[in-house]
């Protein structure tokens, strides 16, 4: 049980492990491409990346929260909420649609902030508090659903979901920008360093003068922002929001984070790993879609793939 751990080698191993996850993704693409021609076509891979972008953006907030030893179970509801609220929040007089985008992101960030405040001030376990937030948002969705008589015609959102910038899909561009920001936040700012500290030992962090409360609120607020942005991208990609649009991203975002090597117990992890985790998850989801088998077998194949990849990508992890 007392495994020898050295951080700089942990760092190396981690990097190594993240590299390994990327290698696995590549391997998976090659194997799938050989077995199922068309799977590894450039167009398909780009599409997978676009899908992974949404997962990756939602999982960005989740990464911050999990590194701080929390968890955000409200992301699915926040995504749906964002997609449903946007048409209501887009003023008719704004041709760019940016006002609606800003208002929606502000709203979801506020939801995240409330999550953080509840966790810090009421000292309720994040699992329960974010679950309660999700439940309350579901209630709000009953009111909103069916209320929006127009499908999305917000140009900013359509551009986000469908547009291209210098030949690159906007989803991927957005992901690149957000991903860089989150990576920088984690590794180049005091806040990021604090999140690692809090996730490792919040009591010790507090006694060392770390502003634990504000840092946690910030992490949950960012998670709310990321989920909101994910919702807008989905809305743009589908041109239509509906209740339940966020559902696959709840367990998906957590799985991407953990598959990417971030410890579910907090204190250890990287966003680069999450990126690989998101791509991995999206890839195997697509893979089981193209396998012609009954639903039962597909489910089994999916489970087996996750387990297999987990085994491949590293066994020296915590025993939880």
């Amino acid at each position: 049980m007392a495994t020898a751990l050295r951080t700089h080698s942990v760092g190396r191993v981690l990097l190594h492990r993240v590299t390994l996850t990327y290698l696995i993704v590549a391997l998976l693409w090659v194997v799938a491409g050989v077995l199922k021609p068309g799977f590894a076509s450039a167009g398909h891979l780009r599409y997978l990346l676009e899908l992974a972008a949404v997962m990756g953006i939602v999982a960005a907030g989740q990464t911050l929260v999990i590194i701080a030893a929390g968890i955000d179970l409200s992301v699915a509801s926040v995504i749906t909420f964002s997609a449903m609220m946007l048409p209501l929040l887009s003023p008719a007089g704004d041709p760019s649609g940016l006002a609606g985008v800003a208002a929606t992101l502000l709203l979801t960030t506020a939801v995240g902030t409330l999550n953080g405040l509840g966790i810090v001030l009421l000292r309720v376990h994040p699992l329960i508090l974010t679950l309660a937030t999700a439940t309350i948002l579901q209630g709000a969705l009953i009111l909103i659903a069916g209320g929006s008589a127009i499908s999305v015609n917000n140009p900013a959102v359509v551009f986000l979901g469908n547009g291209k910038l210098l030949g690159w899909p906007m989803t991927i561009v957005t992901w690149l920008v957000l991903g860089s920001l989150v990576t920088a936040l984690l590794h180049a700012t005091v806040l990021g360093a604090w999140l690692f500290a809090i996730g490792t030992n919040d009591r010790a962090s507090r006694l060392a003068g770390v502003a634990v409360g504000p840092a946690l609120v910030a992490a949950y607020a960012i998670s709310g922002f990321c989920a909101g942005l994910g919702g807008l991208l989905l809305l743009g990609m589908n041109r239509q929001g509906y209740v339940g649009i966020g559902e696959p991203y709840l367990l998906g975002s957590i799985a991407a984070v953990v598959l990417g090597g971030t410890s579910i117990l907090g204190g250890r992890g990287s966003y680069l790993g999450t990126v690989a985790g998101a791509v991995l998850l999206v890839t195997i989801t697509a893979l089981i879609t193209v396998v012609n088998a009954s639903a039962g077998w597909r489910s089994i194949l999916f489970g087996a793939l996750i387990l297999g990849l987990l085994l491949l990508s590293g066994r020296d992890r915590e025993s939880r």
């Binding site: 751990l5 951080t7 010790a204 006694l207």
Partner: protein, 496 residues
């Protein structure tokens, strides 16, 4: 001479490229208290981990009753009668005192836990250790010193033939140490072999019969302790003559009021009054668990108060939190470094800059180079024995971890230092450095409040000592009246 019950033959141990033990032989015999000495990071804990099956040697052999044991596991070591007091690390915080004492060795009857025997046995052990706590209390609610006693009770529970104590007294007060020594002597009389690790050399001289000294992973002395004195021990460990442990005292106690507490009421505090001045080292003494730790936490802003007020520089403090205190130049070194100070899995470097992180950054952006330089200079100044500052802090030896807990505050140049047993598990040379530094800081105008379980520290380092009992300060001993006896008397509630 009786044959050794537990011994090593030429054992070696390395972690990656760090060779920690080299050809170490040690023989632990029944009826003898055997001291294992060495500077921080010399390899003592590693050696006992080998002896107790927690780690496996890379070379050499472990011998139990003269027989070589390969692949020893903790469970097997236990069966062979080897019990180790690893400090607080192996307690289950949410389980009760009784359950922890019997952890892994529950008395059973017909497949079930025998609660009768558990209550009886655990109760008896607590009594023998002078530990007066309810058996059903979760251990997380106990102060560090009492947790340490439970760790000892846990080792004794198994009626060991070999008892290994890794710095068992490092957070016990003088009174508890007496009790423990009585117990160890009684065990010795019944033929138990004791291996005793401590950095408190006079304790070693008082209790132990034999000494093995480790230096950089090699045995440099293995001899009887008869006729030794502390200086001789230091010479054995460090290889040169020992200087005075404690620095000369300055004027002290004349500065302005830094912190003043009036009628504090809260967890374990029952109307506490205390004044701390700039330029002085104020000691805080007393028996274990009289609320001394709570006093420090209250001053640091970490304890919710139900009454009383705290003045900082003469101004009443309102919303208090550790963060605000740290910003105001107040530093706090907790006793329980593993749970309250260090971020064990994170790099040493990171641990060293955590409190100063914001100070070192510009506009919230970290300055890695500055951080690295700061950490490197702290490692040098405190002689922290680290292979690589990027290693996880948990890989450091206990004493070196303790150095981090103190060193990390220095970049903030705090004006008030609240220290809870800051030299716990620290070797003599480092202690000397820490004492000198504290004195220098006080001379430079800082206010130092030192809670210590080591009466020597209180007597020889402090300008003044306040003795706490039952949540109140019951005596203040100024320099003229400072003596070990006076502190113990006040602690026990006798007139000074």
């Amino acid at each position: 001479m009786t044959p050794p019950v537990l011994a090593t033959r030429e054992v070696g141990k390395r972690f990656y490229d760090n060779v920690v033990l080299r050809g170490v032989g040690i023989e632990i015999r029944p009826g003898r208290v055997h001291a294992l000495l060495g500077e921080n990071g010399a390899g003592k804990s590693t050696l006992i981990n080998l002896l107790s099956g927690v780690l496996q040697p890379d070379a050499g052999a472990i011998l139990v009753d003269g027989q070589e044991r390969r692949g020893l596991t903790p469970a097997e070591a236990r069966r062979l009668g080897i019990a180790v007091v690893q400090q607080e690390l192996s307690l289950a915080p949410h389980l009760s005192v009784a359950e922890n004492i019997a952890l892994g060795a529950m008395p059973r009857r017909g497949g079930f836990i025998d609660y009768g025997q558990l209550a009886h046995g655990a109760g008896q052990l607590c009594a023998r250790l002078g530990l007066d706590v309810p058996l059903d209390l979760p251990v997380e609610r106990l102060p560090l010193g009492q947790r340490q006693l439970i760790e000892i009770a846990k080792a004794l529970w198994r009626r060991p033939r070999v008892l290994i104590l890794d710095e068992p007294t490092s957070s016990l007060s003088a009174h508890e140490v007496r009790t423990l020594f009585g117990l160890v002597r009684a065990l010795r009389a019944t033929g138990v072999a004791v291996l005793y690790i401590s950095h408190r050399l006079n304790e070693v001289l008082e209790l132990c019969d034999w000494v093995t000294v480790l230096k950089d992973g090699v045995v440099t002395a293995d001899q009887s302790l008869e006729g030794s004195d502390p200086k001789a021990l230091v010479r054995l460990m460090v290889g040169r003559e020992a200087g005075d442990l404690f620095p000369p005292r300055g004027t002290g106690g004349e500065g302005k009021l830094a912190l003043a507490a009036h009628g504090l009421v809260g967890e374990s505090l029952r109307g506490l009054d205390l004044e701390l001045r700039y330029g002085e080292v104020l000691g805080l003494g007393g028996l274990l668990g009289q609320g001394q730790e709570e006093t420090l936490r209250a001053l640091y802003g970490d304890l919710p108060l139900r009454g009383g007020e705290i003045r900082v520089d003469g101004r009443t403090r309102r919303a208090a939190s550790p963060g605000r205190s740290a910003d105001a130049g107040i530093a706090y070194v907790p006793a329980d470094r593993k749970r309250e100070a260090l971020l064990l899995p994170l790099p040493i470097r990171y641990n060293l800059v955590l409190p100063a992180l914001r100070r070192l950054a510009t506009h919230g952006l970290r300055r890695r180079v500055r951080e690295a330089i700061t950490a490197a200079s702290l490692i040098r100044e405190f002689a922290i024995k680290a292979n690589d500052p990027r290693d996880a802090a948990q890989l450091l030896s206990g004493g070196n971890q303790q150095k981090i807990a103190i060193a990390r505050w220095l970049p903030l140049s705090p004006r008030v230092l609240l220290l809870n047993d800051p030299t716990r598990g620290v070797d003599v040379e480092t202690k000397r450095e820490i004492y000198a530094r504290l004195r220098r800081m006080a001379d430079d105008g800082a206010a130092v409040l030192l809670l210590s379980s080591d009466t020597l520290e209180l007597v020889h380092l402090c300008d003044r000592v306040a003795v706490q009992r039952d949540g109140r300060i019951v005596a203040e001993l100024d320099r003229g009246r400072l003596s070990e006896e006076a502190i113990v008397r006040a602690s026990l509630g006798m007139a000074a």
